[in-house]
Symmetry: C2
Subunit: 792 residues, 2 copies
């Protein structure tokens, strides 16, 4: 176990954000800012019902609208073989409905018109007759005999089963439960939520009929993977497709999948020969784009009386909606839910996941959750809290007793995951220190005595981020690697091109810092290029907190390749033996003569300009120039972790929860930019408060989505969250060249159980054992009345 | 000596041009097509006199013009340290005049206004008072005592000497001349001419004040070199400058230098915060941009009576104008004039070049001449023709007797150049065969007998193209290498990015053909990216026929690197030993089992998608992806050559020359696309007719340029040229991976002496020994009267 790089020593402490001037002054360029000469606008007609056969579509009136350039239905796409498309999760999804509607909001037709208003107006001129079918809305009835069949498009399919998957050793787990002194079981729901990024999804497609080139500005989090799939779906030549993801206003997983709208824009441009813009409105984004979670879970925990956890078992029913649209690695259809043993050294564990189709929007794994780890962490952290209460052991103490020991890393879990590094007790101790945990408990006792409902919630999470490795998984047959190209120009300035792409995470700053650190080039002299398939190397994209673990590692290794070539050049500058050259303090130096230094800039001038270049390892003169490229396939995931403490006050009269304090100690190894890490943590904590207390995508029994606006789907504002109190420990990942781990999703994963545990801690005087998220005032009040809302 | 690749066998025969649809349908995008929101227009005030001190400039009235945004003078630039800039030939040039005007048309000030018309109008509102100085116009008086000093800006300069340079062995040459049976001397002039590209020079500069990024659309032939120099000149960070050379309407060397106008556009955009377009008009291009040639030469030849050439000697006075602006390799200030021994095996040779400054437009070497080889070839081919006449030997026969023998290659000339390969007698034989040379001579005799003036001119040239190699030269301290990046995408389509850039030479086709040939990918599945510093690797650019010899070689080698990586993947697909894998007929095959083939597309799918990749040479698993990059520094120049025969008819009454036939047999080794090669040859032959008969940039004694329009500067049209008769021989270059040589300038170099030799052959009945180009009707008529125009 080694310490991560010290920020102070390594220039990684720098907190400035290069993107700030652009964003602060309103000079960002988002997809909706793209204006092209002659651009048309596309609007999508969406089904008003959840399940229905289409009896007829009449587009005559819409076609006749004076500003309409094209009206396209599923039948039109079917003629071109474009009615269905592969998803990133080994499923097939309708681009436009040809047979039947499978969820409310599904794409039925689209209109391309001179302006956005005319396109919308013309939608109302399309007459569709629907033969409504009974829908499957509740996952718990989806496999019941006689349930309507959602996916009758799939040959041989007779029920709504999407997949079944299990992990761990069922027999060993059963044995442990058999002999345990204490066992507990709890049903719980991780409700359906929505990433709700500030910017909705959209695209501008520009197809050049003469050069047969397609340029697509899109909100995608994975431009390269999208490009390849557009080539496959639309039969366009991959090398003539350029996908540009410009500034993107938040992704959180919502922008990983390929949506029908992107393809509609492409088809619209090919049909009209003009650029076509499609941009979701808020309702379309909430109702039709991929949601997250929706896990109905039964958790079981087995332990000794003195608090040694022996076994964990879980059974999950996952609602994947009408199509399995999100990006799941091939080998793990239930994502990384298998990491559900959390941060504890447990003798045996087993989980089983059954996923079903329902008449709801497609999806399943999006939203800053590293492929289902949010659900896994929630399950284990709730079960551990229940156990603590059962045994009368302090929840911090119970966790301490069961933590994987620092000397046990690398640690293989009972479900086969190899955690890379950690010092869990240290992180927990730091959170306890910042919180003043003992004082809080004392205060709680005092307040309780006064009838006040103060709660202290604890959670400890371990994340698995930075997919690959390739040997274990791939996405859509495209591997799991990410690329980096680094070029140092003659004047010593560098440009680094990365395959991942920012949706606000500060890549333009952090990747410059990585190169700066490795090559001794000032940060401002390093430019970062991303989000354009023509400008960047191939890679799988930004999700699952992959940027730093995968692309960041690629950047480090590319810089080191450059440094190695530079060493040969520096040795010839200094007329010293290569073996005597060392890299120290940002320059090449002759061992034993630290006064003589050659910088990368001097080496660059020589790499381009010198008449004679020294010989390379093969004895041939070096090629000119100073550049390197890397395609990085990580050896393992990285496992960031954290200890969270939440303090809430519950209004005994209304059930309203106020989050008074939130202490978050994260360990993500080396931190390249503390401000960026903190920004990520702050954002995820806000997610957590929203998820725990407010956010919920509900459906009525007819399959009508009840979360179609931000008046219905509530997300927290600055008023609902406290001033965050963050801390850090720094244990390097041995599987990353600078010891960094991904941190983009940590706090989204780790914070909901802390909030829920705090609320249930506050409700102890009422004897409430569990209540499901979102803990709205109504639900809390019902729970206080002894009527916890049943899982829904 | 090996034969070049057979076009029929290697798919290089394909004659289609990918660029054709774009150009034919008017969909090319030239700099003047770039329209940006808020774009301003820039006009340059140019000096009306050749030599003058500026007594005063008053911009008050121009500033007050309601549509003017900025008026900038040399003094304004001097404040910013931008008044002077380095040239690509180790000189320094004024961006705007600060001290004195040095040539007519020099940049004095510029205006940026809302539209082009207002900018032009405002120029007339700038009041400049000039104190006129006597100019130096004739190079032959430039070094005379008391000549006005052009470059008083250079410290310590007391005369107009630009440089002196010599090559060869003066003493050995003198000795050969001493003992020769025959010696001849001739004064001749290669007049000042202008490349006159269809598109003039221009730029659109767009400086983003917030991101501090400069994007420059420019007509440059060398975007990467320009970018680095803009960084150096303007102090902008190189990594935040993007130079885009979009479609360019001809370069011919005219677009290699950095012109003040580019920098004015950059400064204009930085000052106004808006995009600024500058576009020369025709007069500006003809009067102010770099010219070519302007060599006053004395040639001497020594031989035996039976036609064995023993020695060659030349003395040159070169007029470089006010600034040495063009791109000359560092070691060769007089360019490659040292190759003046031509295609002949000669015992001794010596040349001396004296270059001077005059009050004329800057320049010296541009215009499709491979750095002065046009002058060298003209000199030797005229001298050989004079010798043939002196000895009464047929000019074809005399050349045959002196050719370097095919078995003598690689052949080192007396001036130290290593010719790579050739079979000169074969090329000459082919030209003679196509022409029906003997019949032509018989026809000539008949016509002469009738008083008709038919002439048959011969020339044989050897070019030196494709600079590097780096060990011998570099340009502006940036080396001489060119880069190539090749990426094969998951679906097996490829994109190749090259550092050279097309001005109409068909790069998008020929580079796709190279990759197609090397990797078995269909030509249409290979995309070529060029002309954008953000999209392409660093390299020196397109001039000196470098594209195929340098960047073409880089593309071959990059493809072979990809093929080598693919071999490892293919061996794992076929489960065969790597050593047993061979590449044949566009696929990997197991030796001895030609039926089992794996294509690059199959390999690509595996390179990206497979969970397990085989080990590379270092024993580690291969990186994912399928790509390679190369920076190619050629081992040597390539030496294309050709045999040209020209048939002219001269009107005895007017002296008007009509070119009746022109036979051009070129050998440039492997031809990637015969149509592209022929197009280049046709263009250069047209150049040759223009240079020999029409084109001339004259000046009056006050330094006024007399070639300010295409009414004054005559270039040939379809009416002045015959149907070209082209032929080919194919001897591979051993210094190029597919045996190709550059051909872009061959016919411009080789054709003028053939035309001139033909005219002088026609004039034999008048006893005219020599007359200087351009052989206009007037000059020919004067020569017929015994008054050949003296060198001017």
């Amino acid at each position: 176990m080694s310490a991560a790089l010290d920020p102070a020593e390594h220039g990684f402490g720098r907190r400035t954000l290069r993107e700030a001037p652009r964003f602060v002054r309103g000079r960002g360029t988002y997809v909706d800012d793209v204006q092209l000469p002659g651009m048309l606008h596309l609007a999508v007609l969406r089904a008003p019902v959840a399940h229905a056969r289409i009896a007829s579509i009449d587009t005559t009136a819409a076609q006749a609208h004076p500003k309409v350039k094209a009206v396209v239905t599923g039948a039109d796409l079917a003629e071109r073989g474009l009615a269905w498309m592969p998803t990133l999760s080994a499923d097939t999804q309708a681009v436009l409905v040809t047979d039947k509607v499978r969820f409310q909001g599904q794409e039925v037709a689209f209109v391309v018109a001179e302006d956005r208003y005319s396109a919308r107006d013309a939608l109302e001129l399309i007459e569709v007759e629907y033969d409504v079918l009974p829908p499957v809305v509740d996952a718990r009835t989806a496999l019941a005999p006689g349930a309507p069949l959602v996916r009758d498009d799939v040959e041989g399919r007779t029920d709504n089963l999407c997949f079944e998957w299990e992990s761990g050793d069922a027999a060993a787990t059963a044995a442990v439960f058999e002999r345990a002194e204490v066992t507990l079981a709890q049903d719980m729901v991780y409700p359906r939520i929505h990433p709700a990024p500030m910017e909705t999804c959209g695209a501008v497609a520009d197809y050049d009929r003469i050069d047969r080139r397609l340029t697509l500005w899109s909100t995608s989090q994975a431009p390269h993977a999208h490009r390849t799939l557009y080539a496959v779906i639309a039969g366009l030549p991959e090398h003539r497709i350029r996908v540009i993801s410009p500034d993107v206003g938040g992704g959180f997983g919502n922008k990983v999948p390929i949506y029908p709208g992107y393809l509609c824009a492409i088809v619209g441009s090919m049909l009209t020969g003009r650029p076509v813009k499609w941009m979701e409105d808020r309702t379309e984004n909430l109702v039709s784009s991929t949601f997250a979670r929706d896990y109905v879970m039964r958790g079981e925990i087995a332990a000794t009386r003195d608090g040694r956890i022996l076994g964990l078992r879980s059974q999950v029913l996952a609602d994947h909606g009408a199509f399995n649209a999100a990006a799941t690695p091939t080998k793990y259809p239930a994502g990384f839910f298998g990491v559900f043993t959390g941060s504890y050294d447990i003798e045996a564990a087993h989980c089983a996941v059954t996923a079903v189709h329902t008449n709801k929007a497609p999806g399943g794994v999006a939203y800053a959750c590293s492929f289902r780890i949010a659900e896994a962490v929630y399950l284990v952290e709730r079960m551990v809290d229940l156990l603590a209460r059962e045994l009368g052991i302090d929840p911090v103490e119970l966790r301490r007793r069961n933590f994987i020991r620092p000397d046990a890393f690398p640690y293989t879990t009972r479900t086969g995951w190899v955690y890379d590094s950690g010092d869990y007790p240290a992180a927990m101790a730091e959170a306890v220190r910042i919180a003043g945990y003992d004082e809080l408990r004392a205060e709680q006792a005092e307040r309780r005595a006064r009838g006040e409902l103060m709660g202290i919630g604890v959670s400890f999470f371990t994340e698995a981020v930075g997919a690959g490795p390739r040997k274990d998984m791939d996405m859509a047959g495209l591997g799991m690697a990410d690329g980096c190209e680094l070029r140092v120009y003659p004047t010593g300035k560098a440009v680094v091109r990365i395959s991942v792409q920012s949706q606000g995470q500060g890549h333009e700053t952090t990747f410059a810092q990585i190169v700066s650190e490795e090559l001794g080039i000032p940060v401002d002299d390093v430019d970062v290029v991303h989000g354009d398939t023509d400008l960047t190397p191939f890679g799988l994209g930004t999700y699952g907190s992959r940027s730093t673990p995968v692309s960041g590692a690629a950047a480090v290794l590319a810089a080191r390749k450059v440094r190695e070539k530079g060493r040969l050049l520096a040795s010839s500058v200094l007329e010293a033996a290569v073996a005597d050259m060392e890299w120290a303090d940002g320059a090449y130096r002759v061992k034993g003569d630290p006064g003589t230094a050659v910088t990368i800039a001097e080496v660059a001038a020589r790499a381009y300009g010198a008449r004679d270049l020294p010989a390379g390892p093969d004895g041939e003169p070096l090629e000119g120039g100073l550049e390197a490229s890397v395609s990085y396939n990580p050896e393992n995931l990285t496992y960031p972790y954290g200890a969270y403490l939440c303090v809430v006050d519950v209004d005994p009269g209304t059930g309203k929860v106020a989050v008074r304090r939130f202490i978050a100690v994260d360990d993500c190894g080396t931190r390249i930019n503390e401000a960026v890490v903190e920004g990520q943590v702050h954002r995820g904590l806000t997610d957590g408060v929203g998820i725990a207390l407010m956010e919920y995508v509900g459906y009525d029994e007819d399959g009508n989505c009840l979360a179609g606006s931000l008046m219905d789907y509530l997300i927290p504002t600055a008023l609902e969250v406290p001033d965050w109190e963050t801390g850090a420990t720094y244990i390097a990942s041995p599987h990353h060249p600078i010891g960094a781990k991904g941190v983009g999703e940590s706090s989204t994963v780790g914070s909901p159980p802390a909030v829920v545990n705090a609320v249930l801690d506050a409700l102890q005087p009422y004897g409430v054992r569990h209540a499901d998220m979102p803990l709205t005032p109504g639900r809390v009040w019902e729970a206080m009345q002894g009527n916890p809302t049943p899982p829904s």
